[in-house]
Structures are given as C-alpha cells and as structure tokens.
C-alpha cells in the first residue's frame, strides 16, 4: 500500500442553475490574457449539447485518454511513445479554433470616434486572432440552455450511444448543466502524452500542473486529455491548464470557481488513495467496471492501518484529519451519490458529480402527480429511461444501475426529509429501501443542503506557512505592527483570531472614535485571518465531522434540529 493524498471536487448538479459565475471568475483570475482568449479552465455546458470544444467526447476523432490494447494492457489511445515522436512535427489530432471558437472583441472605439451620421455607429466584432471583422458563429457556450439545439442537438456525442427512442423524444427535452474543470486524474493521460515530461502530478495533493519552464509546446497533451482541458497558449507557445487554484488551496482557501459558486454546489476535500492500485484499476477490462474499480482505489481514512501507512508515507496528521472530515470521501464512498465523469477514458478522474434528479422530478411533476412521494419517484426512476440512460453515458460508461441507485437515494432523501420538515412521522421504510439508515439520510441531507463553508471545503493548508509569510512581506502593510500607526488605535480583532490582532476602525480615543474603517481594510483583514489561521475554519475547530456510519451517541433516533423543522402552530 502506497498512500497518497488527492485534492478532489464533487459538484452537485441538481443545484447548478447555469449562471456561469464560476466560468467568469475563473477567466478573470486565470485566463484573462492574450494567447488564452479562447481558453476556459472552467466552463459550463448544457446537456444535452455538444460541449466545449465541440464534440470533445468523440474519442474516435480526438483519441484522448487511454485504451486497453489487445493484450489487455493500458496504452494511450493516440498511440505510444514512438508514434508520438514520429508525429511530433504536426499533431494530426489537435482541435482547431473552429472546434473551440474564434475569440473576438468589439470595435468599441467606433462608438466614440465615428463622425456625426444618420445612423448610430455599430461596434463590429473583430477577431482576436486575425484582427479582421468576423461573423460570430460559435463560442464556448453557444448552445446554452438548449439554444439552437434543434439545429445542433443531434451533434451530441452521447446521443449517438443511447437508444433511438431518446433521439425521437428529444423534442420533449430535458436539460441540465455540467460545469467542468480539469479532472486532476489519478492516471493523467495528458501527463503521459507530454514528450518533455513537463506535466506532472504533485505528490502532496495530486494537483496536475504544467511546468511552464519545461513545456516546449509539442501539443501532445491537448490530444492526450480526453476532457480537452489542456489548452495551447498561442502567444507563448506553451500548454496551460486548470491549476485547481493551487496558490489558494495551499493556504486553505477553496478554488475561485468554488468560492464564487452561487448555488454552492461544489465540495472540495481530500481523498486518500492507494497509488499501487491505480494501474490495475485503470486496466479494468470492462468499461462499466471502472466506476467501482476507482472507488476501490480510495482508502478509508478511518482505518487504523491506512492511518499508519499514511503517516509512514509522510502525510501530515492534520491532512489525515482533513481526509476524515472530507465531504468528498463522504459523498463518494459513504453515501455513494457521486459519480466520475466519463470513467471509460480510464484516467481515473477526480472531479465527481452528483447526477441531477431534476429531470425525473420535472417529469413526475408534469404528469400532475406528487413529485415528492418516494413511490412516484422510485417508479419514475425505473420508468424514465431517457435521463437515466443519458446520465449513465456521462457517468458510468453506459451502465444505468449505479445512476439508478444514486437517483433513488436522492429521491429517498427528498421524501424522507419532507416528512421531517412538515413535522410528520418520518417513514423509516424509505431509507431502508435504498439501503441506508434514517440517520445516514439525515447526514447526507445536511451535507447536500445545509453544509456551511467549512463543511463544503475541508482544505488543510500546505505546510509552507512560512513561505506564505515571507511572500506576504510585499503585500502586508509595513506600518502594521503592534502599536504601529498603520491599523488604527486600540482595537483588537473581535474574534480574537490571530492573537487578538489589531483591526482598523478605532481612533486614538478608544473604540468607535475616529472614522469608519475602509471596507478594503476590513476585507483584507478578514481574508488575511482566514489565510493564516491554523485551522481551515475557526467555527468548527477541533470538531471533526463524525463518520455517519459509526452512529452518534446521545442523538435522538430521529434527528430534529430546530432550524430544519417548521412546526405548525
């Protein structure tokens, strides 16, 4: 057993409203530069839809990921080392701007510079590639919310795989949103495809990065990644990809896309896995077995043997604690509601998804039946092959059984919690019918519906706090020292964090004298406290979330916290 830690993400698709805030903030943070105008480290796709780049899931065309060769050994789908080097002078499988989209800006200057004329001047779109006028005909998000799907919907790669019936019933369509970032795979085929060895997986947290000093721009990683999440910067001639916001994660902050997610649908946490079992899992003969095989690679962070091995492997104690509190571990292995995206690519992706129940709910609701009743929902999950088969194409290589099981669990949670919320007697047969206890259902509900910042993001800081402090020299106020003139007078930080550090806002004559603290200073302080505190969350300090399967002593058999109950008068 070789224990390694992996920073991973789970997204709850039921909550995604497709607002693209994650994409926009990510773009502002990372790809707001020339050369990467067309690049979205985070993008949100409408499903059914083509995705970005167009039809990236069609691996017959793009040859991304791994496959098993005739002897059952794992090989790169686009060919091995020798074939890569032979084809290095012109990559035959590189998506073009036509597949992504040609980035553009508008000629805003005309609006102010145009001479007086009869008609209002128009800012025409200009290509950011050629600088010429262009007709905008595609983008990363062209078929948003099924816009234009009548014309392009048939192009969805997954619809090719599912039954004819789905294609016919496409008119009565369902839709959901799929936010995507780099999967930070356990078996990254981009790294394996890089001739220079510039793409590497970090030992500490498993984040996959491109060493910009070693990348020579051979472009094989773009082909190698089946999710098409490595991009070529056409200005610098280097590959770039999602970094899992490592500078933030290292100090215990969630990624920008998670932090700004309006629906709070993203969860970040650690997973411990056995690196020795990765190759075996990726070589599972049957595509549909890959989901289970990958779950087998993950280790139980509560197992004393795993803890001992992790300590031997040099994983710090607070990281093991974080792995025990990890919402990712809970969603993947405890509640088993999260599924990997396209496990059939055999890269063992580490951004997992809770499939949406909403297509099923909507279908039931449309029939006029009670969409919260577990009888109706279970029956609908069994009957509604359209969303289930489609979701299976996304998450389980086409096997509907695991998707079925997840949707039933989510449906059970809905019905069970409705009884509790309405103050009715909870029906214990509902959890039983999906193989869970009422308490587990409740815990799952807590995690999915109520979990606060510190429960959704359990991110132990990297052990380079000193480095951060050293770097902060440049950004910290040089007048900000005990008794210094920089940060106001006698005030102390109200929470007592950071050793009762001074905060701004208090004048020389005690609290509330002088002017109000500038908002920027307060924000800066709050951020600074969060970045430099010893625990990811001061609120739950030293209170690991207990593993639900162990049960809790002293809790009522029916957990009825006041905020979850609306009692009738």
């Amino acid at each position: 057993m070789r224990v390694m830690a992996q920073m991973a993400m789970v997204m709850n698709l039921d909550k995604c409203i497709g607002c693209h805030t994650c994409s926009v903030t990510c773009k502002q943070a990372w790809t707001n530069r020339t050369g990467v105008e067309y690049v979205w480290f985070n993008n949100v796709e409408t499903r059914p839809g083509q995705g970005y780049p167009r039809r990236y899931e069609d691996q017959d065309t793009w040859e991304g990921g791994w496959k098993l060769n005739r002897r059952g050994r794992l090989t790169l789908k686009a060919g091995g080392r020798f074939k890569k080097l032979i084809g290095i002078f012109a990559n035959p499988r590189l998506p073009s701007f036509d597949d992504y989209y040609e980035p553009w800006t508008y000629d805003y200057e005309t609006l102010t510079n145009a001479p007086l004329q009869e008609h209002t001047p128009v800012a025409r779109p200009k290509s950011l590639i050629s600088g010429k006028d262009m007709k905008i005909s595609w983008s990363a998000n062209w078929d948003d919310s099924l816009g234009g799907s009548a014309a392009t919907g048939e192009q969805d790669v997954l619809l090719r795989e599912v039954s004819e019936k789905i294609k016919l019933e496409f008119e009565q369509t369902f839709l959901f949103f799929l936010p995507r970032i780099c999967e930070h795979c356990l078996n990254p085929s981009c790294a394996a495809s890089c001739p220079s060895g510039a793409i590497y997986k970090r030992e500490e947290d498993g984040i996959v990065l491109v060493d910009q000093d070693r990348c020579r721009g051979w472009r094989m990683c773009v082909t190698g990644c089946p999710y098409k999440k490595v991009y070529f910067n056409h200005r610098t001639g280097k590959a770039e990809k999602c970094t899992f916001c490592f500078p933030r994660v290292e100090v215990g902050l969630p990624t920008v896309c998670s932090e700004t997610c309006v629906g709070r649908l993203r969860y970040i946490g650690l997973v411990l896995y056995d690196a020795d079992r990765v190759l075996d899992a990726a070589s599972t003969p049957d595509d549909t077995g890959l989901y289970e095989a990958q779950r087998e690679v993950f280790l139980d962070p509560h197992d004393p043997q795993v803890i001992a091995e992790a300590e031997k492997a040099g994983i710090p104690r607070d990281w093991i604690d974080a792995a025990q509190r990890s919402p990712i571990h809970a969603l993947i292995n405890t509640y088993k509601v999260a599924l990997p995206l396209h496990p059939e690519y055999r890269t063992l992706p580490m951004v997992w998804y809770i499939p949406p129940l909403s297509p099923v709910l909507d279908a039931v609701r449309d029939t006029g039946h009670d969409a919260e009743s577990h009888h109706n929902l279970f029956a609908a999950v069994d009957a509604l092959r359209i969303p289930v088969d489609y979701l299976a194409q996304l998450f389980t290589a086409g096997d509907p059984a695991p998707v079925d099981a997840v949707l039933r669990r989510l449906a059970a949670m809905r019905s069970y919690m409705r009884d509790i919320n309405l103050g009715r007697e909870p029906n214990d047969t509902i959890p039983k019918s999906v193989g869970m206890s009422g308490e587990q259902i409740y815990d799952m509900y807590r995690l999915l519906a109520l979990a606060k910042y510190d429960e959704r993001y359990v991110i132990p800081p990297a052990h380079a706090e000193q480095a951060h402090k050293l770097e902060e020299l440049a950004t910290e106020c040089s007048l900000d020292y005990e008794g210094g003139p920089g940060m106001g007078g006698a005030g102390r930080s109200p929470s007592g964090k950071g050793g009762g550090r001074r905060v701004g806002g208090s004048g020389p004559f005690g609290e509330a004298s002088g002017g109000a603290a500038p908002i920027a200073v307060e924000n800066y302080r709050a951020l600074h406290d969060r970045q430099t505190s010893d625990t990811p969350s001061p609120h739950r300090q030293g209170q690991p979330r207990q593993p639900p399967q162990l049960g809790r002593q002293g809790l009522p058999t029916r957990p009825l916290p006041t905020q979850a109950v609306r009692r009738r008068p």
Binding site: L76, R81, F82, K84, L85, I88, F89, A90, N91, P92, L94, S96, F97, I129, S130, G131, K132, N187, P188, A191, A192, C194, P195, S196, G197, I199, Y200, K201, R202, E203, E204, D205, D211, Q212, D213, R214, C215, R216, G217, W218, R219, F232, H234, R235, T236, G237, K238, E250, A462, A464, Q466, A467, H468, L470, E471
Partner: protein
C-alpha cells in the same frame, strides 16, 4: 574521382582573410553557440519553445512541417556522415569513393529537395495566413533568411558540383578542416581551395549557428528523446523552496542548507 579545385575561391591562400574566415569565425561561432545556449537556458527557459502555430492553420502545416523536419533530419545525418567520419574509415569498411559519392548525392538531393520544398510551403503559409504572419517576429524573419540561404547554398553547391564539375570530393578538404577545428589545430588552407558555393554554404551555416541560440531554433536541442525511456506519469513534489524566490545565503531553513 577527385575533381580539380575550382578556380573561383574567396582567397587563394590563407592570408589574413582566410584566417579570419576559417579560423577566427568558427571559434567565435562555437563560443557564441555554446555560451548562447547556456545563457538562454538560464535566463529564458520560458521562451524555450517551438512556438507552434498549428492552432492558427493546420492544413498546410500538416504537409510542410513533416516534409521539412524529416528532410532536415536526413540532411543532418548526411552531414555527420560527410563531415565527422573520415574518408579512411568508410574505405576501411570497403566503401569505395564512388559508392559513397553516389549514395551521398542521391540521398542528399532527395533530402535537400524535401527540406527545401517543406520550407517553401512553410514560408508560403507564414506569409499568406494572416494570424501566422502576425505571429511572426523580426527575429523569425532573420532566422528564415539565414536558414533558407544555408539550405539553398548547400543544395546549390551539391547540384553545381555534380552537374557542372562532375563532383567535388569535400572529404579531402572541407571535412578535415571541420574536424581540425575540434582538434584545436585549425587549417584554413583546406578551405581556401574549396569551391565558392561550398565556402558560402559554410559561411552562412556559421552565421546561422551564431544566431541559433537566440532564435526559436533552440527547440532542436530539447528534442524530447527522453520520452522514450521515462515513466508515463511524472510525480513531482511541491517546491521544497519556500516562496517564489530562493532564500538569500545564510537564510536557508535548518536542514536545507548545503
């Protein structure tokens, strides 16, 4: 079949000009080439890339680039065989001058034409495809001039020598001169008698090598041959160095100092 030396040469005897061209210049170029690469690697690792333009245009590139690159690789192998391996060695293994010459001319001409054809396609593409042209720097243009001149002159020298002069045995003059530079016993007399086209080819190549470390051609030195042997997945530890800057001497963390 050693042909008599052609009458038209740059310098009949190795006078000052000959020494400057065939002794001083090669050593200066060698120094610039080696030190330039070291300098570039130390200070511009980020700029060390192929600067591929495939994203802008791939139809022409797919034909031109492999044609050029494979052509120039064969040309490189030919030059190694012609310049580095002494005539006596090939004769020792029983290869007659005639056999050598014919195979060298045939292979060299095919490879040269491929290279030049590929280069023509690539230059045409670079000039006519808007985004590719606007991504072309002045450095690139200068490099293209030198590269094209060297290839054209080299091909012209071979063709002219074989069509007009019935062949020129550069292994009697140019090759020993080339090797003499590395023995540190440079002999400019060997070069002064060579035909003008060969001399010009050598000079333009020297200029190209001098410019090499400062152009995009550096990508050749990092041809990813290590890919054939390294493990597929690279694991690397987060930088042990704290922060973006190296600690100053005397401020290393305990246990990390040398």
């Amino acid at each position: 079949m050693t042909a008599p030396a052609q009458p038209l040469t740059l310098a009949v005897e190795a006078g000052t000009g000959g020494i400057l061209l065939w002794v001083v210049l090669p050593y200066v170029v060698l120094a610039v080439f080696v030190l330039g690469h070291i300098w570039r690697y130390r200070y511009d690792k980020f700029g060390w890339t192929t600067r591929s333009s495939q994203l802008y245009e791939s139809r022409l590139l797919r034909i031109g680039s492999p044609l050029f690159h494979f052509g120039i690789l064969v040309v490189l192998i030919g030059h190694i065989g012609g310049l580095l391996i002494p005539k006596s060695w090939t004769e020792a293994v029983g290869m007659s001058e005639h056999t050598y010459h014919v195979s060298a001319v045939v292979l060299g001409t095919i490879a040269g034409v491929c290279t030049l054809g590929g280069l023509a396609i690539l230059i045409y593409r670079r000039r006519t495809v808007g985004p590719v042209f606007s991504a072309t720097t002045r450095n690139d243009k200068a490099m293209y001039v030198l590269l094209t001149a060297t290839i054209v002159l080299g091909l012209a020298a071979t063709v002219a020598a074989n069509i007009v002069g019935g062949g020129y045995d550069y292994r009697e003059t140019i090759s020993p001169w080339f090797r003499s530079i590395f023995y540190l016993r440079p002999d400019p007399d060997l070069m002064t008698g060579a035909p003008i086209l060969f001399q010009l080819h050598a000079l333009s190549a020297l200029l190209l090598f001098a410019a090499w470390p400062f152009t995009r051609l550096v990508h050749m030195l990092t041809a990813p041959l290590g890919y054939l042997t390294r493990p597929y997945i690279v694991y690397r530890s987060r930088d042990t160095q704290l922060g973006a800057r190296a600690p100053r001497r005397g401020w290393e963390r305990a246990g990390q100092g040398r």
